[in-house]
């Protein structure tokens, strides 16, 4: 069947089987391998992408279902060579070790910051809850929380290009 999915603001049409999962559509059809793929059982959250701005597990969404929704992947965070504050935060605060969980963590962070824009300062508890569906195999949670907090604190400031 023909499936058209909008990813990072661009529409992509492909002829795929109805059973194709969004994670494989992104990686194998579009070559967007920034979306990682892990447990395959809907448990680890490594495959997180944004669906209409909210993080979801792309191994548990059909590509066909994603048609009609706006999908955001890690490739969409950087704009014109400028890193998103979240990416900057992960770089500044050593938010990644092997990097396997990082794309999903950063997208969840982006969604959290968007949701909380203009609100009171984010607490570490809120950050921990937001990422609670995602496993970091390197168990670097403390630095991930610090990275997201860094991004929250620097969100509205000029960033080095």
């Amino acid at each position: 069947m023909n499936v058209t999915v909008s990813v990072n603001g661009h529409e992509h049409s492909r002829d795929v089987e109805p059973r194709m999962l969004l994670v494989h559509f992104l990686r194998d059809e579009l070559g967007l391998t920034g979306t990682h793929w892990g447990c395959d059982t809907s448990n680890c959250g490594i495959c997180a992408v944004l669906m209409d701005g909210a993080p979801v597990k792309s191994c548990t969404v059909l590509a066909a279902t994603a048609a009609g929704h706006e999908i955001g992947t890690v490739e969409g965070l950087e704009v014109d060579g400028v890193l998103d504050p979240v990416q900057q935060g992960f770089s500044e605060m050593h938010g990644l070790q092997c990097g396997f969980c990082t794309p999903g963590m950063m997208l969840t962070a982006r969604a959290l910051l968007d949701r909380r824009a203009g609100g009171p300062a984010l607490t570490d508890q809120e950050i921990r809850e937001a990422i609670s569906g995602q496993i970091c195999r390197c168990t670097g949670y403390a630095s991930i929380v610090r990275s997201i907090r860094w991004a929250a604190e620097h969100c509205n400031q000029e960033l080095p290009g």
Partner: protein, 292 residues
């Protein structure tokens, strides 16, 4: 790599369209709501429907939480996250927020729906216990029209419900009365996991006594409610002793099995402790009468 077996895909654009497709395609067709029970099962080949009818587009039509005519009405496509964040529910039926805080994780909650959860009827499913504890009624529509089913008649044992092959669950209704309170307690092995045991309770107080008490357990066997425990509560003044007594009856009446989440004896013990806590909290809430 786990992928579902091949199937044909249809996308329903309205409730009527979904029902037409169910009738047209027959018993080999399955509705796909949030997909967070069905797709994992299809990936493991525990389910291999010939046709999948995606009802994702019904999220607007069936995604709502309203208070009308003394009832809270929840559309079947309302997602876990909406149930968690609803201030209306938190005030009128706090048991929902209690449960949603500990159902799965934020990512699953962004997709999974109450309709899918109830129709999946997993024995450890939390919203089935929540709905049983508040005497929910379920609105089902099929080719022959609509019917309202009580929660106790809806759940037909593990993975089976009163929804027929050509039918669909549309709405969950709960009567709201003054002097009522509800609560949910769950023990899980790690964040986001299914319950080892969970207990939901609701009470309606009148003149300082419990007019009606409801208890529902999750993950401890098919019989989720305890008639004896509920009878023991009726007409009594709330007290710690009463809660403990009802909790013992509920725990005695359940049928847990030993598995990787714990032994049957442990689960029965936890069932009593959680029931007692849920009852105490439900009564406290009923007495404090939050503004509606």
């Amino acid at each position: 790599m786990q992928v579902p077996a091949p199937f044909e895909y249809e996308r329903a654009t309205s409730v009527d369209h979904a029902l037409e497709l169910l009738t047209l395609l027959g018993p080999e067709a399955r509705l796909l709501a949030g997909g967070h029970s069905l797709l994992p099962m299809m990936k493991l080949r525990l389910a291999s429907p010939q046709y999948v009818i995606d009802i994702d587009d019904l999220a607007a039509e069936l995604g709502y939480i309203d208070a009308r005519e003394g009832e809270v009405r929840i559309g079947a496509m309302t997602r876990h996250r909406e149930l968690l964040e609803s201030e209306l529910l938190a005030a009128a039926l706090p048991i929902f927020r209690d449960a949603e805080r500990v159902i799965a994780d934020p990512l699953v909650r962004n997709r999974g729906t109450i309709g899918g959860a109830l129709c999946q009827a997993d024995p450890a499913e939390d919203l089935s216990a929540v709905c049983a504890a508040v005497d929910a009624r379920l609105l089902i529509r099929g080719p022959d029209g609509e019917r309202l089913v009580e929660m106790r008649d809806f759940y037909r044992g593990p993975y089976a419900t009163a929804v027929g092959a050509e039918e669909m669950l549309l709405e969950i209704r709960v009567v709201i009365e003054p002097g009522s309170g509800s609560a949910y307690q769950k023990v899980e092995r790690r964040v986001g996991d299914w319950a080892v045991v969970a207990a939901g309770a609701s009470v309606k107080l009148a003149g300082g006594t419990i007019e009606r008490g409801r208890i529902a357990l999750a993950a401890v066997g098919a019989e989720v409610t305890s008639a004896e425990a509920q009878e023991a509560l009726a007409g009594q003044r709330p007290s710690d002793r009463l809660f403990a007594h009802a909790a013992q009856l509920a725990a005695a009446g359940c049928s847990p099995v030993t598995d990787q989440r714990g032994t049957a004896a442990y689960k029965r013990h936890v069932a009593a402790v959680l029931t007692e806590r849920a009852l105490r909290r439900a009564v406290t809430r009923a007495l404090s009468e939050p503004p509606r």
